[in-house]
Symmetry: C2
């Protein structure tokens, strides 16, 4: 006889108590597949419960697959497939994920593990020139929190619904107005909100990706773009970056030889070199692309960080023939955690990109877009940019002075950037190069990014990219001192 | 002589006033390219300003590309490329975006315009069974707003930084615990947070996409999946959905014939049919896939909406051999606006998907993830699910009763769903079919989705999908009445 008990005083409904006990007995093999269970009526009598309670228990056990029910006969224990448990987790599964993944996605995974290995979080004892994170001490936390709350209070029921196509309309309108201060004239219809500028780049690549197509990129360039190009089967053609920006003669030659379908460029505070091109360079680049009708993806990720006063307008400002897809972000002046960036391009291009966005994730959340809009509208954004300019003008001056003071020109050369967060050192080959630059720097208490990951091909030279974005003046000065010590050791006689 | 004026009392700095006036004169062709401007000293004398102010104005005009400066000679107006203005916007640009886009992305754009034409917003006068939006009257607005604010107060400085790989750790841990209530045993390492479940599907497709690969899908299936498969060059094999779910004999035959690399299925409240498969069906599906080592993408988008009491556990619950990639979301029980969904799969698979996610958009925003975590942790989520179950149990009963009462079996047949939001009507061919179903229904004051978009191939039959998610009981009853009137007209003698 089946031994079950019910507790009328338990908060657990009686039918659930029965289910749990029968499941336990099956799991413990006290009840075996095929075994008969009492009929609904007998179970009800035995436990002094209502028949409908017993029936409900059997119904759910049937739905869960633990018993077979057939009219006129007693329920029987079913030979149910086992529920997976933590014990199964150790076992290697049946699927070969490498074989299931495409070759390009397998390669992307390898890049991920190389560029961004798990546990790469920086050691607090090291001064970190490698991170492009922003300095959280400068986040406008309280004012943004208030804006977020106000946005929810005023538009919550709309914001919790599915997002609007192409993004929260008032924010698109604000961005269009804001871009005018950079000489760019677009309407809200020519703006697509993206999850940071990285997604903007991803969408453009996905729009054009087809086997054999070529994209011209700067060498060096943003390291997170290279694996993505490869992933989409796009062939990069590297155009060297000189002191004044991308080598336009080399670009002209590449256009003739490789017919790129897109040119990806960062004219302002290029990552990793920090170089900004001048007006004449921008005009020639645009003319060249107009002549060949090649679209430009202009990455203005640090456009707002022109704190040194010399303003050069984006290429997009002169884009009378709608070749330029301009990509911007709030991440590099406000904070990255809202993941709000945008693309500005000819309306048809924006709609094509919006289609990919739509099928990839329906619509981005409007909650944070509305909060950023509130933040911008109420003047916080302009004030915050002012604060950021003052802070980083001093920080960059501190960095440059420290480099001039501590780094011997025989060890490295660099160009003074006119804004942004990046300084690019070209190292002179030391008499005794370290086996592992990262380890050598860490031994001196400092981190920086070595140049290799910014080139698609090999580079014979050694570079270090210094990012000052997460560091204050004291950390910058001390960091450069440590860097100098690391370089001195490699250059001093043994 | 150059006529300029400066206003010392203006809030605009003097050098900016000079810049603006010279730019205006160039734009108005009062100053022509090549024309000489006064030297810094002469300009300073003329306006009675400091020489450094005049120099600063020329420096910025040079950076902006309006003047040429060379040592020892006067500044000259430069032949600058024009800034684009609103007037240029009307012109068609130089880039042929259709030719620039890949053929698959062009097709995706066509699908977007067909499925989701601009201005498709529903007419308020119509009762809308077409929308899968949630009923904003049920959103837990105030409690979520409080949770969002608390999350910002407690973790703001972290949340505004770049997000953690694979998502906000405490939320991943919560989801892992929560999945146990559906019989699924996974750890936080086996969870990847995505921007809604749509992005989960997109990432899986991107991971496997390679020319010639085949994916088995249900026919009919979720309409937003079909264009995405095509976009990634994946060939769908349609497996008919019967009354008890996907036809597993047909699936076995398709596995033998087409060797699919993935099976995409919605075992619970399938979209669009509303059908849930039983335990035996799930076991046979999993066994079949184990035998052939084919991964399953199990879309549990409405898993939490099992309000009728009969609980069947997800296929993933039995997945001892790690074949199942389970895809879930908060959108269909909480609200869609946070765009928080997840994938649960074998750790290696999750890491491969995380790599694609990382290069596509760095990391999803942690702000909303932390707010949802706060909402779940403090018990709001469980209470909200209870409320949603009570509301939709009644709404679905109302819908089914109204259909039974008003829709003649000679016009249509349907299956009563055991949960979720969807009812799928198979229409009997009316003597006088309308030229345009959408227009015919609209003429009777009701909207519903016709079946064609849920099939990859052609379907000879006519279906209507009714979604009750945005409607209350009164709207549902009235909507079914209007639908009945629309069908009656087609079936009644002229």
């Amino acid at each position: 006889m089946l031994l079950l008990t019910v507790d009328e005083h338990s908060p657990e409904p009686i039918y659930r108590q029965i289910i749990a006990q029968i499941r336990d007995k099956i799991a413990g093999r006290v009840l075996l597949p095929g075994e008969k269970l009492p009929s609904t009526r007998r179970l009800a009598d035995q436990l002094a419960i209502h028949r409908s309670t017993a029936a409900a228990a059997y119904q759910e056990l049937w739905a869960l697959g633990f018993v077979d029910l057939s009219p006129g006969s007693c329920p029987r224990v079913r030979d149910r497939m086992q529920i997976a448990t933590a014990a199964d987790r150790g076992e290697k599964g049946l699927v070969d994920w490498q074989a299931t993944a495409s070759q390009p996605s397998d390669a992307l995974w390898q890049s991920y593990r190389r560029l961004d290995p798990p546990g790469r979080e920086s050691t607090p004892a090291l001064i970190n020139f490698a991170s492009m994170n922003m300095d959280s001490r400068l986040f406008p936390l309280e004012s943004f929190r208030a804006c977020l709350d106000r946005a929810m209070k005023n538009h919550g029921d709309v914001l919790l619904g599915y997002g609007a196509r192409a993004g929260f309309r008032p924010l698109r309108e604000y961005i269009a107005r804001r871009l005018q201060s950079h000489g760019i004239s677009v309407t809200a219809d020519e703006i697509l909100i993206t999850n940071g500028s990285q997604q903007g780049i991803d969408l453009v690549f996905r729009m054009i990706a087809a086997p054999g197509k070529t994209v011209a990129i700067e060498a060096p360039t943003y390291d997170y773009v290279l694996p993505l190009l490869r992933f989409y089967g796009l062939r990069p053609v590297e155009i060297p970056v000189r002191r004044d920006g991308m080598d336009l003669d080399a670009l002209a030659a590449a256009i003739a030889a490789d017919r790129p379908v897109l040119i990806y460029t960062m004219p302002t505070f290029q990552n990793p070199t920090g170089i900004s091109t001048g007006q004449a360079h921008r005009e020639r680049l645009l003319s060249l692309c107009e002549q060949h009708r090649i679209p430009i993806l202009e990455d203005g990720f640090e456009e707002e960080m022109k704190y040194s006063g010399r303003i050069v307008l984006p290429v997009k400002s002169m884009d009378r023939h709608h070749l330029v897809i301009y990509c911007g972000t709030f991440s590099k002046v406000l904070f990255p955690g809202a993941r709000v960036g945008w693309l500005a391009a000819e309306k048809e291009c924006v709609e094509r990109l919006a289609a990919i966005h739509r099928f990839s994730e329906l619509a981005p959340s409007m909650i944070l877009q509305a909060a950023i809009h509130e933040f911008c509208q109420s003047g916080h954004y302009d004030r915050h940019i002012g604060r950021m300019h003052r802070a980083y003008r001093k920080r960059m001056q501190t960095a440059v002075r420290a480099l001039q003071r501590h780094i011997d020109p025989a060890w490295a050369e660099w160009t003074e950037p006119s804004g942004g967060f990046l300084i690019w050192l070209k190292l002179k080959p030391p008499p005794r190069p370290p086996a592992d630059w990262k380890a050598h720097l860490a031994a001196h208490g400092v981190e920086a990014t070595t140049g290799g990951s910014f080139f698609y091909g090999e580079t014979p030279d050694t570079y270090l990219r210094l990012s000052i974005s997460p560091l204050d003046e004291g950390e910058i000065t001390e960091g450069v001192r440590r860097l100098a010590a690391a370089l001195r050791q490699l250059h001093s006689p043994a």
